[in-house]
């Protein structure tokens, strides 16, 4: 799953692959704004079939947080 999220980050936000680790912070390390994060959430929803609620987006601070959220909410 991490690899898929990583690919989305590379494709959609042109982020350097080497910078994307599980502990990388989305805002300060990867330069993802809150709107980018919403777009990333949308892409992850389409990819994994898991709804990321608007109010939960704020709790996703690192790439690992997204992977964990999807894992926890998969049926």
């Amino acid at each position: 799953m991490f690899e898929t999220i990583k690919n989305i980050l590379i494709e959609e936000f042109a982020i350097d692959a080497d910078m994307i680790t599980e502990s990388a912070r989305l805002d300060t390390d990867l330069g993802i704004s809150s709107l980018d994060l919403a777009e990333l959430a949308f892409r992850c929803e389409s990819e994994f079939g898991v709804e990321i609620k608007d109010e939960d987006i704020a709790t996703l601070l690192t790439v690992g947080d997204i992977a964990n959220y999807i894992d926890d909410n998969r049926q």
Binding site: S33, L35, L37, E45, E55
Partner: protein, 564 residues
């Protein structure tokens, strides 16, 4: 003759209710809102708005809640706007609360205003369930939207029930809104600026403020009934409420409500807006997406080579050349009104070249909020534009030799003062009654205003939100690992993006024998746990660890102005 501020034809109105009546007469069954509820797309017309305002006002009267303070909170919804206007139209005071504030703040603001009714949308379900027992002064909680799961308390009603009650009263002859004798100078809205309940100030607005700011918005934007707009900004902000929810309907424009932040760009493509009211964060994101798409197609070098040549061509030609770019936002986007924070001039230049105009404006909640805007026909990069027709702007310099000074404002949109805070109100005005914006700047020979700095500590983000550093410092100060902390906004290198940064002087006694990395990690963990309790826009992005205490004045207060 010197060129001046744009003044488009404006449909005049006297009071907010008068505006709603006249809009219903002019536009009737035309769509005022398109919105999505439970995955179903719905239409709300101009006539619906008048009916709703009449019914809600009559319902509030039936419940003896007319003339009272009513809190309204949640995501943008036609019933939210109708409630806001109905409360005012029967002599009450609307208190729009940010849906993302903490439960404590929500309770605090309601208690300060002694609200007797709370109207909320599904986004607030969880918060209301948590706090309603504490809000003993509230006689009715009204829940907007489908599928309400109301707490087991008699005070809760659905919005549909409230509307039905009002409709029945209205049809029986009640004309609460119609008969209400408006006093334009009477308090009609309290808007809390960001911060904790302790640091936040409730901006008091009256109908004179809101009506004049609305008419000024109409005169600078030049919208028409052919326009389509997508609403994306938080509705509790005066910028969105006045410029989009009050001004655009006065021109007959239709508004599609963005149903989720995740769908923003897709909703632009779907609803094909002709105009947008945005903050820099959105413009930055659109700009990034444009260049990412160009890059994907391998055309970056070609477009960059073309742009200097194309920018000299007429706008219609540019729009044809860049029709694919404009197409990503629906293909009809003509202009963007951008406010809340400064926008990078490079972005304006790029959008100009693509054939999309950006009109940058300047406002402040205390002015309901519009102070100035760049006229569409004459824009200056870096400038906050020219004053709007109803407002006056002056620069108060410490001495005549200075080029810059504090921007002070007067006019009918300037607030009445801060609610229950006469000390702050007194500080906010000059001796001759002008409002001190706290911004530093100058006005050039063409009457364009330029902002060069701020007097206050507020951190201004690219999403237009204000963050009060004191609030973040209060949260972080609770940790016994932190001895002193100051929150500041630091600009990212090579961009105008501001990152909220916590400068931390740890309690080194707690870290004996620990490495710098270990100290950083421990403090970062504290910051992350605080972030999880805050709305996204307040998240502290960076942490800098200090080896030395902050420099303090004689009363042991940190000298913030010395911090770099």
């Amino acid at each position: 003759m010197k060129k001046g501020q744009t003044t488009h034809i404006v449909h005049p109105f006297d009071t907010l209710y008068d505006g709603i009546v006249k809009q219903a007469q002019r536009y009737g069954d035309k769509t005022r809102y398109i919105y999505t509820e439970n995955k179903v797309e719905k239409i709300f017309t101009y006539a619906d708005m008048l009916d709703h305002v009449n019914y809600i006002a009559s319902a509030l009267h039936s419940l003896s809640l007319d003339g009272k303070f009513v809190a309204i909170s949640g995501e943008t919804h036609p019933d939210y706007v109708a409630s806001y206007l109905a409360v005012i139209s029967c002599g009450g005071v609307s208190v729009p609360l940010d849906k993302d504030i903490s439960a404590d703040q929500f309770v605090g603001f309601n208690q300060i205003c002694e609200t007797e009714c709370v109207i909320y949308t599904p986004a607030l379900d969880k918060k209301i369930a948590e706090v309603y027992a504490q809000l003993t002064n509230v006689k009715k909680f009204v829940r907007i939207g489908v599928n309400p799961a109301l707490p087991d308390d008699d005070r809760f009603v659905t919005f549909d029930d409230l509307l039905a009650l009002g409709k029945e009263a209205y049809e029986a002859g009640d004309r609460t809104a119609e008969n209400y004798q408006v006093d334009m100078e009477k308090l009609c809205a309290v808007i809390f600026t960001s911060g904790t309940t302790g640091t936040s100030k409730g901006v008091m607005l009256n109908q004179r403020n809101l009506v004049s700011a609305t008419l000024d918005s109409c005169s600078i934007m030049g919208c028409t009934d052919k326009d389509m707009y997508v609403s994306v900004l938080p509705i509790h902000h005066t910028y969105e409420f006045t410029c989009a929810q009050l001004a655009l309907p006065n021109t007959g424009a239709s508004t599609a409500i963005n149903d989720s932040i995740k769908n923003t760009l897709r909703n632009f493509a779907k609803y094909k807006p002709t105009a947008l009211v945005l903050v820099p964060l959105y413009v930055e994101t659109m700009h990034k997406r444009i260049w990412a798409e160009i890059e994907k197609k391998g055309k970056t070098a070609t477009i960059k080579r073309l742009m200097p040549i194309v920018s000299k061509l007429p706008r219609a030609v540019r729009r044809r050349i860049f029709k694919d770019i404009i197409g990503a936002f629906g293909g009809r986007l003509d202009y963007i009104v951008c406010g809340g924070a400064p926008l990078r001039p490079e972005l304006m230049a790029d959008f100009d070249c693509f054939g999309i105009k950006i009109c940058e404006g300047y406002g402040i909640t205390e002015c309901a909020p519009l102070v100035s805007a760049n006229p569409m026909h004459w824009r200056k990069y870096h400038s906050a534009g020219m004053r709007v027709p109803h407002m006056n702007v002056r620069i108060d310099k410490a001495d005549d030799a200075e080029k810059t000074g504090e921007i002070v404002v007067s006019g009918p949109a300037v607030m009445m003062g801060y609610y229950k805070n006469s000390e702050a109100t007194q500080e906010a005005f000059t001796d001759d009654g002008w409002f001190r914006t706290g911004d530093i700047g100058y006005i050039d020979d063409d009457d364009f205003i330029f902002i060069t700095g701020r007097k206050k500590n507020i951190i201004l983000l690219s999403n237009g939100k204000n963050v009060f550093p004191e609030e973040l410092e209060e949260h972080l100060g609770v940790s016994d690992l932190i001895k002193e902390v100051v929150a500041i906004g630091r600009k990212k290198e090579g961009s105008d993006d501001v990152v909220i940064t916590a400068l931390v002087y740890p309690d080194y006694d707690k870290f004996v024998g620990k490495t710098d990395d270990e100290i950083y990690t421990a403090i970062r963990d504290v910051v992350d746990s605080v972030n999880k309790t805050l709305p996204t826009f307040k998240h502290i992005g960076a942490v800098e660890i200090r080896k030395e205490e902050f420099e303090k004045n004689t009363s042991r207060k940190i000298m913030r102005y010395k911090i770099k």
